[in-house]
Amino acid sequence: MKQQMDFDVKDSLQLGGNYGLLKLRPIAQEMPLIEPGQFAQVEVPNCKTTYLRRPISINYADKHELWLLVRRAGAGTNALCDLRAGAKLNLVLPLGSGFSTQVSGRVLLMGGGVGIAPLLMLGQRLLANKTDVTFLLGARTANEVLQLDLFRQMGETHVATDDGTLGHHGLVTTHPVLAEHFDHVACCGPMPMMRAVTAIAKERSINCEMSLENTMACGVGACLCCVEDTSDEGNVCVCTQGPVFNINRLKW
């Protein structure tokens, strides 16, 4: 069930210059069940120029804690990254439909930049389901490869950086591990990356899911501001039918 919840900021960490990790603790309500790939509509409490909430993926959640991994993209996300421990934050969650968590065969989780955020929880869930998971993380430069330790703890993790400061030198979509056999790919990252991965997956007939971004107002399917054109249903809401879509439905 979706709900509006107040959280305490327990910890606020600055990562890689341009990112923040907020560790939140629910104040009164019990944490709802959250599926990997779902997101929250986050109030921006300390910013004069924002009006609407900001959609942010749930990076990690258990009964007592919820993490948001935020890239400084503008006023709202800057303000969120600047929150200090002790601040309060209001979230509407859990929203959207997430990644498939019952998949068989060899699975690749691919993230670019802050797009790795939902993959942490997805990896944990897939491992709990005894899935064979490989991770491939991309970033512009070494210190922007986020949460690398946490991914490495989960399993085989490959890295690509645009400037070659860590791992494969080049776009994540040119990483040699992509030549190996995979039965399923889950991906989240910048648009050009997701389009390139879609092309690869289509060419090799790999089952593949993408977590899309869109401009959102309500986050609950009420305003129809966030549509993606699908091959089966035309314009559908990314906030309810997505953000995760099987590439079969996308017109890319």
């Binding site: 069930m1 979706k2 709900q3 509006q4 109030e43 120029t49 924002t50 009006y51 609407l52 909430r53 509407v92 869109n214 401009t215 959102m216 107002a217 309500c218 986050g219 609950v220 399917g221 009420a222 305003c223 129809l224 501001c225 966030c226 549509v227 993606e228 054109d229 035309g234 314009n235």
Partner: protein, 302 residues
């Protein structure tokens, strides 16, 4: 004892004056996890047209100072889908169910009204002659007295329950349009729909919206909406339903003082999905503290 009930024309009494604005509240169900929908005075569902509509291409929304521009363009699955699949799910919610009706031609509006008239749990229609986001029809009907009268008169023949006509603020004198709607048989008028606006991404040197222009809503428009509601309330004798930028209970009272009999809350639901309930509670307390028993006692002091 505070009694918040109010008659908004055509024999329709709401349990309280707080409704949700069309296009911002889906079909109500989207908010069922957050609030008890039966506490609302009314739910005005998404703009419904005779034929299904895909709406405008992405991007459809951009945030602006204290507000947002949208260019949804009346995306909906059409009236037949509505009555078959959506109406059965929502018709038993204990609140006034109002369907927002849109179209390009007069015959489209009439067609939707006729189709809806068999479904007796629809308390009212709200005739939208004010949508700025469609190329054909929509707002153009609401920008002339003749257009407003033509649509209102035709729908009046096809609909015998409460009929609200929703006005656009994008006109020189909204009171003339309001009077034309009243004279053509409207039971009530609602205003405002969104203001035509535009925003440009200066980095990319392109408009933010696929349609270039869009409809401005949210707190930014409230003072203009309050002014227009006040003007219209003095120009017509039928009930006026006020909306535009209401963010909380205080703002509801402001519209009621301006002369509105009831209000609608739109964009604020995106920011606080429980805003409607909080506003109802606020209004109740506001009245109780001042020993006002009915909404007719809530007027501006001279």
């Amino acid at each position: 004892m505070v009694d918040l009930s109010v008659n908004i024309g055509g024999g329709l009494t709401l349990k309280n004056p707080i409704m949700t604005a069309s296009g911002t509240y889906g079909y109500g169900e989207e908010f069922a996890d957050f609030i008890d929908l039966s506490r609302l005075g009314g739910i005005i569902v998404k703009g419904t047209t005779l034929q299904p509509r895909q709406g405008n291409p992405y991007p459809r929304m951009v945030e602006t100072p204290s507000g947002m521009l949208n260019a949804v363009g009346l995306q909906n699955k059409g009236v037949d889908y509505f009555v078959k699949h959506i109406y059965p799910r929502i018709c038993d919610i204990d609140t006034a169910l109002v369907v927002n009706v849109s179209g390009a031609d007069v015959s489209d509006y009439v067609g939707v009204c006729e189709r809806l008239s068999d479904f007796d749990k629809i308390a009212a229609v709200e005739i939208n002659i004010s949508c700025p986001n469609v190329k054909q029809g929509g707002m153009s009907w609401g920008t002339t007295t003749a257009g407003a009268a033509a649509v209102t008169e035709a729908c009046r023949k096809a609909w015998n329950r409460t009929m609200i006509v929703k006005l656009t603020p994008n006109v020189t004198d909204v009171t003339q349009i309001a009077r034309a709607a009243q004279d053509a048989g409207a039971d009530a008028v609602s205003l405002v729909n969104t203001f035509l606006g535009m925003a440009i991404d200066v980095e990319r040197r392109r408009p933010y919206l696929s349609t270039i222009t869009g409809g401005l809503s949210g707190a930014a428009i409230r003072p203009i909406a309050v002014r227009m509601v006040w003007q219209v309330a003095q120009a017509v004798t039928i009930p006026v339903i006020g909306l535009g930028g209401i963010m909380n209970g205080r703002d509801v009272v402001e519209f009621l003082l301006a002369g509105a009999k009831a209000v609608q809350i739109g964009t604020a639901n995106f920011i606080d999905p429980q805003v409607t309930i909080k506003a109802i509670d606020y209004l109740h307390d506001y009245m109780a503290r001042r020993s006002l028993n009915t909404l007719s006692e809530l007027t501006m002091l001279s």
